[in-house]
Each structure stands twice: as structure tokens, then as C-alpha cells.
């Protein structure tokens, strides 16, 4: 699974592409693990940009829940943005829309999580990996 990563001040934006299911959930979990665990440069916020995710299964949702638990444990924020219609329906049916913060667009999520990140948005971002 292709996973792009950008940083805006103290918030990291992770953008997976394609189907998030049995075949790709492990890869996303591997990308998220160092971001959610406590460390010196761990981000204060994590945004999952799902604008290019066209399907998410229960295994994929479980990866998001594990990440959310880790982030909340260390007092950090996590949000999901840009759900495509089918994925938005899956979030609603699974009731994940009530346990994760979901925003329509990235700027809105950044503004809700960190003023510094919102300010940095629009400036040249650093793509750290794909």
C-alpha cells in the first residue's frame, strides 16, 4: 500500500492510497507505530487523510482504533479527513464516526488540532516518505 507522509509543525498527516483491508492493514500499522508511540519527536497530532482510500475493512478500522488509543494515552490528538462516500458509509455503519474525530477537509482538522499546524498549512511541507 502506498502511504504518503507530510508534517505541518507538530502534526503529521498520513495519506494511504487504495484499499485498507487484510492485505494492507499491516503496512499502515507499520507506518503509524513510530508516530503514535511516545518519543522525543512524537507528533502532538496525527491526521489520516483518507481522500484516496476507496475501501476500509474491519481490520483497517482496527488499526485506526489502536492508533487512536495510543495517541489519546499520551494526550495527543488524532483525526480522519476526506472520507469518500463509500468509506464514510462504512464509518457510519461500524459506528466509528462516533469514536474518531472525522473532518471534511485537512485544513479544518489541522485547525482543530493545532494552531501551529494550521499556520504551517500552505507553507511548503516536507514529504518524509511514501
Amino acid at each position: 500500500m502506498e502511504v504518503a507522509r507530510r508534517r505541518f509543525a507538530d502534526v503529521v498527516v498520513v495519506a494511504p492510497v487504495g484499499r485498507l483491508d487484510h492485505g494492507s492493514a499491516d503496512e499502515l500499522e507499520r507506518v503509524l507505530r513510530p508516530l503514535v508511540e511516545p518519543s522525543g519527536d512524537a507528533p502532538a497530532g496525527l491526521v489520516l487523510d483518507f481522500g484516496r482510500v476507496d475501501y476500509v475493512s474491519s481490520v483497517g478500522l482496527r488499526v485506526l482504533m489502536i492508533a487512536a488509543k495510543e495517541m489519546r494515552r499520551r494526550g495527543a490528538r488524532i483525526a480522519v479527513v476526506g472520507l469518500q462516500p463509500v468509506v464514510a458509509e462504512i464509518f457510519a455503519i461500524s459506528r466509528f464516526h462516533s469514536v474518531l474525530d472525522v473532518f471534511d477537509a485537512l485544513p479544518t482538522a489541522l485547525k482543530a488540532i493545532s494552531a501551529a499546524a494550521a499556520a504551517a498549512y500552505g507553507s511548503p511541507a516536507v514529504s518524509t516518505s511514501t
Binding site: H22, Y55, S57, S58, V59, L61, R62, M65, V86, E89, I90, A92, I93, S94, R95, F96, S98, V99
Partner: protein, 319 residues
């Protein structure tokens, strides 16, 4: 196999429609009838039959008890929840108390909601009846006897005068019972539970309740997909939402509608029936879960459509 009939579909604890809820429904139904021409009996019946199930019907409140009609005279049941009481009454009403019958009962596990009906299962008290109770738990008999010991119950287990026998069914082996091939699978639940795959005459029914699916281990997922493979009907524990099952109710031993759809789609199942309803959920909430699940199946479908239903007390599914 010809038919599956549900006598108890609720999880954990029996529930009943309250007077306040019933009053609310009557008010809604009468309000909806304003201005309609309902002079004839037929018109009244048509109006009532046209109402939503969550208004005019109810999913019911008995705990787990499911009957499989095999086509033979012997009765086949899954679990001894409170639903076995009306089942027993119906069996006696059909045959009379003096015509011996044989009852094959497959136990998912011995938690209270799945055994609480046995003390009220009238055929077990009638000499001449044969009752065979099957399960994967080695302490099955002890658990069923214990719930009838004082001070929990006033009638001792040995008061039941039917010929009662307990049969241990180890998982992973094909057993021949009541003309069916029966396979069991150990499931993730406190103290373990067992799912059953019943096959006969080209028809397959899977009864899988009180089973949590973490889906983190591919081998475990594969074992359930193989267990469900090409079944005509899977009766599936969908007690919680996926969000609940992965957060506040993780490790409570139950599953969700979302996981049910995924596993059944992978297995090529024809009909998924949601079962073991949350006792705190009212009829409207269970109906909403059914509508959601049908929509999920629709938007994630890659092959032939899969039928989705939600079990209610008294429901029958022809095979």
C-alpha cells in the same frame, strides 16, 4: 434440512416490551391511520401489515434457542436459552405428553443465558422422552446440574425423568447426529464457546454465537471462513457495533454486523442472519442495524448478493 425456526434470539438476558413502549407504538399506529378508510376488517389488517416491523412487531426477548427441522421426526435445537420454554410447550401441544420424542440439543457454551431455559423445558420431565445434549465443554453436565441446585432453583435436575444423556463433541471431527454431519469449531469467548456446522441433503446451516473475531491472525480468520464456506445460512453473533467491539467492549466475547458481512462474503454464504441481539437495544435500534447491514453488503459486494436478515422470536427461514 428444511427449516430454521427461532425461539430465542436475545443476547445475555431476556427482555420484554414495556407498557410505555407499547403505548407509544399504539399512539403512532393510530396517528398513522388518521384519514384512512378502515371500515372493513381486511382494510384494518392491511394497514397493520403495512406498518414497519419495529412498530407492528418485535424482535422478542427470549435468550438463545434455535430449532433446525431436518425432515426427520427427531427434534434438533441449538442452545437452551429461555426460548426453549415455548419450544417445549409447542412440542407437547403438537404430540401430547404421552408420545415419546427425541431431542438433540447442541450447546454453544454454558453461560447462563444459554442454559437458563432447561429447568422450564417441560419435555425433559416426561418419562419416555430422550434428550441428548451435545457440546465441546467437558463440564457441560455439571453446569446444567448446578443451576438447578439449591438455593438457586427449587427443583433438582434428577427430577427430570426423561432419558437424558450428555455427549462430548471434540472440535475438528465430523460427527453424525440425527442424520446430519456436524462439525464444531472452538470460538473466542470467556470459557470458550463452540460453533456448529450442520450439513444434510445438500443444505448447510452454521450456528455461531458468542464468538469474538479479532481478525488480527490470518489463520484464525481462514478457519472461520472455511467453517462458513458456501453455507446456505449463517446464524451470527452481531451483538455490538464494530466500534464497541474494538473499544469499550473488546474482549467481551461478541462480534458485530460488520465482521459478519466480511466473513460471510469471503466464505460465499447465501444468507447471513444477525443474532444474539443486545438486550439494551429496542426494536427500532435492531431494525436500524439490519438496514445498515443490508446497505453494507450492497456497497461492499463483489459477487452475487447475500441475503441479510435479523432473527426474531418466531421467525422461520426455509432452507
Amino acid at each position: 434440512m428444511k427449516l430454521v425456526r427461532f425461539w430465542g434470539t436475545r443476547g445475555s438476558l431476556p427482555v420484554a416490551l414495556t407498557a410505555a413502549a407499547l403505548r407509544g407504538r399504539l399512539i403512532a399506529a393510530v396517528r398513522g391511520a388518521r384519514g384512512l378508510a378502515l371500515a372493513s376488517e381486511r382494510a384494518v389488517e392491511d394497514y397493520v401489515d403495512g406498518l414497519d416491523f419495529a412498530l407492528a412487531g418485535t424482535f422478542g426477548g427470549h435468550t438463545s434457542c434455535v430449532q433446525i427441522e431436518t425432515g426427520d421426526a427427531d427434534y434438533v435445537l441449538c442452545d437452551l436459552g429461555s426460548g426453549v420454554r415455548p419450544f417445549g410447550e409447542a412440542a407437547i401441544a403438537r404430540h401430547g405428553p404421552r408420545t415419546p420424542q427425541t431431542y438433540h440439543i447442541f450447546m454453544s457454551h454454558v453461560h447462563w443465558d444459554h442454559i437458563m431455559g432447561l429447568p422450564f423445558f417441560a419435555p425433559a420431565y416426561i418419562p419416555g422422552n430422550r434428550v441428548r445434549i451435545y457440546g465441546g465443554h467437558v463440564d457441560l453436565e455439571a453446569a446444567l446440574r448446578r443451576q438447578m441446585d439449591p438455593p438457586s432453583f427449587p427443583v433438582d435436575f434428577d427430577t427430570m425423568r426423561a432419558d437424558i444423556e450428555f455427549v462430548h463433541l471434540p472440535p475438528g471431527i465430523r460427527h453424525e447426529v440425527a442424520g446430519m454431519t456436524v462439525t464444531t469449531l472452538r470460538q473466542r469467548h470467556a470459557g470458550d464457546s463452540y460453533g456448529y456446522r450442520f450439513e444434510r441433503g445438500g443444505r448447510t446451516v452454521v450456528y455461531t454465537t458468542d464468538s469474538e473475531h479479532k481478525l488480527t491472525e490470518a489463520a484464525e480468520t481462514r478457519s472461520f471462513v472455511d467453517f462458513f464456506r458456501d453455507a446456505d445460512l449463517v446464524v451470527f453473533d452481531a451483538m455490538y457495533s464494530l466500534a464497541e467491539a474494538t473499544t469499550v467492549k473488546a474482549d467481551w466475547g461478541h462480534s458485530s454486523n460488520v465482521v459478519g458481512v466480511e466473513l460471510c462474503q469471503l466464505a460465499g454464504v447465501a444468507h447471513l442472519c444477525l443474532f444474539h441481539h443486545e438486550p439494551a437495544a429496542d426494536d427500532a435500534q435492531i431494525a436500524a442495524v439490519l438496514a445498515d447491514t443490508r446497505r453494507l453488503e450492497e456497497i461492499t459486494r463483489s459477487g452475487r448478493p447475500m441475503r441479510i436478515s435479523s432473527a426474531y422470536d418466531g421467525m422461520e427461514i426455509a432452507l
